[in-house]
Symmetry: C2
Subunit: 364 residues, 2 copies
DNA sequence: TTGTAGGCGTTATCAT
DNA sequence: ATGATAACGCCTACAA
């Protein structure tokens, strides 16, 4: 009950607590309230019945006055509204949702909430959801398709639709599709609306940037095998490399994390590539760290390109050449598509190259 | 309807779309289904009535069999369960929540979802919530108390309780308190359970670290004026500086962002401090960038200390001396407190100093 | 324009 | 052990 000082607990230890699933939330203001005092402190939430009674109308009239004005006389509407305000009436959203089946909540699942790139997606989506009167529920699948599926499963009963930056396979998505409306980020699937970065054009920009610097052998450091974006990016790079007579080596897949950068860098150094393109900035920055550790000059000995221009890309060493992924706009657009404000099935957003200092003329 | 290529839209332009709030979610599988076909494709979700009818028992029995086994014969339980599985029955969580008022959802509001520090808090909280069978709803208040209040307002009807990393004033929190159970991160308030970093001890560590390097004049770069953590950290630093005969200058408040680092660095350089302590790492890294830009050697001319050891603290230049804030453990503990698994009102977690290269001997 | 009544899917309370 | 029934709070035909 009193002040407690805890030593650092590791996750495993913490989770040891039994999986007891029935732990009632601590109750607030338990019992013992003034029963029917003067006027100020109602312990039970005021319902539409209270409003109707107080206003001297039927519940249906009260309901209409509040949620369907226009089907009720102006006088009644004003009166009911006044009473509702005075009583502090707040509609029970759960009860509202029961008959209609709509909660005005939207689910957004991202593979890694710690990736700043996704933070931008979230910001955009949340802003647009709020503007449309929806509440956004965010979940983190930690790059695990199973966890993503679990989240979707748990959220589905509550939300009106999903925005997914998904690692689940096509079949899984199709299965979900006829439970709830779904829109996809950086993934296409027949019948499902999506917003994708223009991987083809950004691939072109990267390859042209590198060739203009004289590079002729390039390595691509793959992201997760479950990532559609990775497959698409890879294909685009391959096509443009072929067109420009550039030799492309595929390495990986690697987890899209800082830590994986070490292995990725080592793999790249084992090839004769003079430039590497990483799946995303997290991986690219990890590569940078490893290269410095191994004494490899960037861009002197090796040029490095990232993928999404996240927080950190400007202050890592050297600042990272990357692609300005419009995640925030993607978030807004996805939500708009979900609620029908934008009627399109495949939106493609440009991701312009941002040349910083991690790429330079081929030297070797 | 077809493939669309969009130019980059700025946020303002995007938001220009009218604030029309009534945009129905695109319907899926609308109407016209086989009415009572053979066996496989039910369009309407199967209810407990369907299960009961199919199993030849009363709905109450079916309900008990599924959610209250033990109050029903083993034979019945098995049978009902089998039928439910066969029919693909999934309880309607909304309907479950209506009588009980409990949704098994928890709200978590953070001031800045793009701050990696909060990502760790979210991870911890989500893990523990999932383990207890709860779903975590995450929202981003973008350092705006009003937006936080709005989120809480919108979430309150749906969630069983809140974890708040709050910027709202005490009165606001007290008001919320008797609507839903609340636990606080890095903030204390009478009557409200909380988990806080040990600001006093971490302040001591920082001050002792700096004095051991010979520093006698230090500046503290404040965070948001609405941050309890900032006030507490500041007070702790002041106390320990006094004890060690160190002169402390307070600067700010500053927004806890990379961008604000420039102004903060300039302010610090205008003093005679040989070391600066920043509210958090975001600000500290921004300071580092500015100092480099202005040609000030770190730690040669100025030592810099951060606050929470975020992503980026290891690869900024130079790597940042900071405090290892146990945000993930805090997240787990907060959720445990919310659902009563931990019975404490004030938990204090240590944040050990991590000495990297941004601090060094006083030179000037 | 307004009132009456039924239903949304569950769980809990009472009988049986 | 099981069955009937009444809530939960709101919405919406339908009737007046």
């Amino acid at each position: 009950m009193a002040r407690i000082r805890l030593p650092s607990l590791d996750s495993a230890r913490h989770m040891m607590a039994t999986g007891c699933r029935e732990l009632p939330i601590a109750c607030h203001t338990p019992g013992m309230d003034h029963s029917d005092g003067a006027g100020s402190g109602p312990s039970r939430p005021v319902t539409i019945y209270d409003v109707a009674r107080e206003a001297g109308v039927a519940t249906s009239t009260a309901s209409r006055a509040l949620s369907n004005p226009g089907r009720v006389s102006e006088r009644t509407r004003a009166h009911v509204e006044e009473v509702a305000r005075r009583l502090g009436y707040r509609p029970n959203r759960i009860a509202q949702a029961l008959p209609s089946g709509r909660t005005r909540m939207l689910g957004l699942v991202v593979p890694d909430i710690a990736n700043p790139h996704n933070a931008r997606l979230i910001r955009g989506a949340e802003a647009q959801a709020a503007a449309a009167g929806y509440t956004l529920v965010i979940a983190d699948s930690q790059e695990q398709p199973e966890l993503e599926a679990a989240h979707v499963e748990r959220l589905a009963p509550f939300v009106d639709g999903f925005v997914l930056s998904s690692r689940v396979d096509d079949a899984g998505l199709h299965g979900l599709r006829d439970r709830r409306p779904v829109v996809l980020f950086n993934r296409t699937l027949p019948e499902l609306p999506s917003v994708c970065v223009d991987f083809d054009d950004s691939g072109r920009q990267v390859v042209e940037h590198l060739t203009s610097l004289g590079h002729r052998t390039v390595a691509y450091l793959r992201g997760p095998a479950t990532s559609w974006a990775d497959a698409t990016r890879r294909a685009a790079l391959a096509a443009h490399c072929r067109r420009h007579g550039v030799a492309l080596t595929l390495l990986g897949p690697f987890p899209p994390t800082l830590e994986a950068g070490a292995a990725a860098a080592d793999a790249a150094l084992a090839t004769d590539a003079t430039a590497v393109i990483a799946f995303n900035d997290l991986l690219a920055i990890g590569v940078l760290q490893r290269l410095e550790h191994r004494g490899v000059a960037v861009p002197g000995a090796l040029s490095v390109v990232g993928g999404d221009d996240i927080f950190g890309a400007t202050f890592c060493r050297p600042p990272l050449t990357t692609l300005a992924s419009p995640a925030d706009q993607a978030g807004r657009t996805l939500v708009d598509m979900l609620n029908g404000r934008i009627d399109a099935t495949e939106v493609v957003l440009p991701a312009p190259l941002v040349a910083r200092d991690s790429t330079g003329p081929r030297r070797s």
